[in-house]
Symmetry: C2
Subunit: 635 residues, 2 copies
């Protein structure tokens, strides 16, 4: 390999005649460009545009006649107009099948989840009627099946119960639940409207896995208490075998999409089965709790139950925000999953507004927090749903149930609801994902575990706080202790790569090439300065030991320095000064646009020396070597 | 310029004979290497080592005989042994001069700052005796002059006064102050011992500028109230002209190092002058408050005043932690500044332990929070201090004062202390820095302003919380909305650069080269996916409009993707799938070591296709073009 500066001749650059790639060949030096300087205002405008409208939602309006703009605008606000015109009988047929299927899941789930939230079972049914209708008009996902979900129900139930007893003060509890739902909706819609949807991304997948696993275990233990209390009876009645088979079928259903109907039908089947058993054996007289009388009729209005004052307002807002963000996260994640499977696009912010409006309306119509449910949407997708019409069909089925079939639930045992809940949540414990996390990313694994144990041993809110905290901490830790790598030339190329990664890469004599793999910020500027000096010390010691030529120049490859702030710039200038005192030259290679701009504005460009900033490592080494040679050849 | 794939011939690669740099020439393809896979345990060990010992503090112990190790260890723990052996009369002379100079500043400052913390003036003198002696033995900075500082005094005074009145319950207040000082010391020493020193870096310079400016204004307003109350008198006595001159001199002293003694002598001069004036005119009988009787003698022990129970414990801990981190930040920053001017190295974590132990000991000897003071260290440096002996000299002068000169302060008017405080803090308002921040970094500017107004309009603690919050938010915002740039070939080179930065760079026909300038994390994986798809849409529209060849391949330059997590990997795989469906090829260029490793472990390497991962953009384009040509030439 090339031997560095000692082989450089000072003939004029002749890149066209270069016959081999070697670090010792001089390269034509290209000056580093700066991006066009923008006025503060236009830079700000562009920055805000990128921040709030990264998806450029208005591009479809561009260059369109007025009437077309109107139509697009209507379709934008009410996605139902997008697919309505192409709707046909064939689509309707699919939607009816899938609508009926999810209804069979939604009714028992609704009753069960209402129980999880310490609410009367009828609220669960109500929540399966109004929200799906609204989502059908506003939602942009074709596969999302909305309704109450386990996590949000659990969180709402736990948080409200801490301060108000659902059995002693049922009216206040109900008022609180509706008010919290209203605030959840306001929060969700505002996130969407203010285009702050990225906030849900801070609930990273690993922390959510931990959070949901922990919640599932808490819920299951709660429900098991009730289950075990009647173990004698269930043994007699052969309940456990039934439940076991439900479990097994459900598990299989999740794994084999063709058997999805087993999983979809299991809850309704077990509800019917258990109701029939209780009815035939008159078991309700033997100490088996049943749902009992349910009032017939559609959702009564509940806007008069929203309370915006009093001592519980803070609790309602807190519960609303937390259950709101959790249900939003689930809804958005599920919507995105199925959109990506079927290759259509979902506008996250619009979805948030849809879900938010759905909950705000719901809170005025006796519904509690609803969102796109994972289990139900999976069934919906498997049953061949084509559009949001399947939600409407489901709502109609629920309507018929509420109007005519309420007496049938009289004998449904509460215990079957516990089983449905456990069955639903236990699948949230995802061992496989945990093992994957351990393999791929230890920090993700730690975040997941902390969220899991936080939920189990402290509280649901605390678990969530810990989860978000760790996610942020993970970002900070990466910024605080960034990688610095020592680089060498990859033989036969002009590329310089990490010596730890490319075993065949070779150090350039007299040079230390360091790659900084992080923005240079207040949080790491001090660390980077010290770590770079340590690298130089170690490399100098190495060069002395190996009898290599003395280090004369440090090349900092800042290709991966994606941003600097004022502290970072100060650190760079400081480093330059320190090295100059030690007669070491410092040059920079490949500053990115934003970095180059900041260096320029802050006058660090002049302080470091514009002649010390190169477009690439190769040119830097070539340029420095030539200058060096030039200096040596002077008398 | 080269015309892309259409000019490629399928002759065997011959890089040695290439005669010009052009994107159309095929390059030899080098496979992307992976870093050596390490065992989990050794990777963890290395990671923790980098995190906690980035400065490798033990390298000096390597390969040393036992006795030498012992000596180095002793020097490591007590830096006094490092310079003691080389200490001589000449150094002592310099240290005596600077010690006397800072003593003349320290005595009035000590009394004034104690007043700021609502403590008896004598505590300020005590705090100038014991802590400097301890720092002299443990500290590694040669220029740091320790003692009470304005910010920490202010914060302690404000926080404690909120709950305990210093006039009504002076003993409880004093107990609280000592206990808070003890906790400050424990906190500081623990940060150093646990090597978590990087935490002080989160108080970034811009936020500190805002925080200190706000604090200065609050303090000045407080003190001015007292000053204006006696305006009639001061007019008579010609106080204001004196003060104005003090101000002016001080300002000049900071700007012209040669006049430093003006700034250094001003406080003592004005104390002496005002004391003489009050004494001669018997002004203490005309309503001028004076310091009054001060007890002679050295620091009495105060360990019996540390209270580790009762209702105020939380307040003591809180005050200790906040004043502790603030004073630590000042001390470390000052130490680093002078170390870098004189080109010696300071071990941040060791300094923290020294400052912490100093405060823990101080709290048992009637001292309150002390640290390295900026104003005093500047004077110390200008007066030619050579080692920490100047601190010891200062302590001795303070000792003499406490033993013999206490009666002299009897007639010192309190108003002069207010003036000293205002003079000291007003220089903390740094307009110049604010303008610089506006020019270089708007977000830094915003952080600075928020901290400033937070302190002024809400509270000191809140201001600090806001400041840290914004600093963290700044990091998150960069991660949440990273840059994606479109790249082109720089003519005459194999380099690909941002088209927005290098105006002469040229797009490669049929290719879109996108550079991602950020780690790919849960917080941005969704955004990046959508933004990349938007870039592709816009570039396709552009190509159609300009009648250019159809886009067939997307090259993602991930040189600046310094890390991925599981969400990021999922997003990448997802993107590959989406593009494949649209018959677009996705290739990756230059994955860094950690990214390559993660892609490999998670099997994303196989899912993206190892043949789609290249070492550089040039090789990616060359490789893809050849494959394409090969496919076309098949029958």
């Amino acid at each position: 390999m090339g031997g560095g500066s000692n082989r450089i001749d000072s003939s004029p650059y002749n890149p066209d005649l270069e016959s081999a790639f070697s670090v010792s060949e001089p390269l034509e030096i290209h000056s580093v460009s700066l991006p066009e300087t923008k006025k503060t205002l236009s830079a700000l405008k562009q920055g805000l545009g990128e921040f709030f409208f990264p998806d450029d939602p208005f591009h479809q309006f561009k260059n369109q006649p007025f009437f077309r703009k109107l139509v697009i605008g209507l379709q934008f606000l009410f996605p139902i107009f997008q697919w309505m015109s192409d709707y046909n009988l064939k689509l309707l047929k699919s939607d009816i099948v899938s609508g009926l299927t999810i209804a069979s899941l939604a009714i028992p789930q609704g009753i069960s989840y209402a129980k999880l939230a310490n609410l009367p079972p009828i609220i669960g049914l109500y929540s399966n009627f109004v929200p799906p209708l609204i989502y059908g008009v506003l939602g942009s996902s074709r596969d999302l099946a909305v309704g109450p979900v386990s996590i949000a129900s659990l969180v709402m139930g736990t948080m409200l119960k801490e301060e108000v007893s659902p059995t002693k003060e049922p009216t206040i509890y109900l008022q609180l639940a509706f008010t919290a739902t209203f605030f959840a909706g306001v929060f969700q819609a505002s996130l969407g409207f203010l285009r702050l949807g990225f906030i849900v991304d801070f609930l990273s997948k690993p922390t959510l896995i931990g959070f949901m696993g922990g919640s599932a275990i808490i819920v299951s233990l709660q429900q098991l208490k009730g289950l075990l209390g009647i173990s004698h009876f269930t043994n007699q009645m052969g309940f456990i075998p039934v439940m076991l088979s439900v479990f097994k079928n459900r598990e299989e259903g999740l794994r084999r999409p063709k058997l999805f109907w087993v999983s979809a039908a299991a809850p309704l089947t077990s509800v019917i089965l258990s109701t029939v058993i209780v009815f035939s054996f008159k078991a309700q007289n033997q100490g088996i709790n049943t749902i009992g009388q349910l009032q017939k009729g559609v959702n009564p209005p509940s806007y008069n139950m929203l309370v915006f004052q009093g001592p519980n307002l803070v609790l309602a807002i807190k519960t609303g925000v937390i259950s709101g963000i959790l249900s939003l996260t689930e809804g958005i994640a599920v919507g995105r999953t199925f959109a990506s499977i079927k290759s259509y696009k979902i506008d996250g912010n619009k979805e948030m507004m849809a879900i938010g409006i759905m909950n705000m309306t719901g809170s005025c119509a006796s519904c509690y927090v609803t969102t796109g449910s994972f289990s139900r949407s999976a069934v919906n997708y498997n049953a061949g749903s084509q559009t949001a019409v399947s939600n409407i069909i489901m709502a109609l089925v629920v309507l018929i149930t509420m109007l005519f079939l309420m007496p049938l639930f009289y004998y449904t045992p509460n215990v079957i609801l516990s089983v449905i809940i456990i069955t639903a949540v236990i699948s949230l414990v995802d061992y496989g994902a945990l093992i994957h996390l351990w393999k791929v990313d230890k920090l993700d694994f730690a975040a997941c575990l902390c969220a899991f144990f936080g939920v189990i041993f402290i509280s649901v809110q605390m678990g969530l706080t810990i989860a978000v905290g760790i996610s942020i901490f993970k970002i900070l830790i990466h910024v605080t202790r960034p990688n610095i790598v020592i680089m060498g030339n990859v033989p036969g190329t002009r590329n310089y790569r990490n010596l730890g990664q490319y075993k065949n890469a070779i150090r350039v004599p007299s040079f230390i090439v360091l790659g900084i793999e992080s923005p240079v910020y207040f949080a790491n500027s001090m660390y980077l300065q010290e770590r770079i000096l340590r690298w130089i010390r170690e490399e100098e010691e190495r060069a002395t030991k190996m009898n290599e030529s003395k280090i004369t120049c440090i090349v900092l490859d800042i290709s991966a320095v994606t941003a600097v702030d004022t502290s970072g710039i100060d650190a760079l200038v400081e480093l330059k000064r320190t090295l100059t005192k030690r007669s070491l030259q410092l040059v920079l290679a490949n500053p990115l646009a934003s970095v180059a701009e900041k260096l320029h504005i802050s006058e660090a460009w002049q302080k470091v020396g514009s002649e010390s900033i190169y477009m690439s490592i190769g040119e830097a080494i070539s340029g420095v070597s030539c200058t060096f040679k030039g200096q040596q050849s002077q008398p």
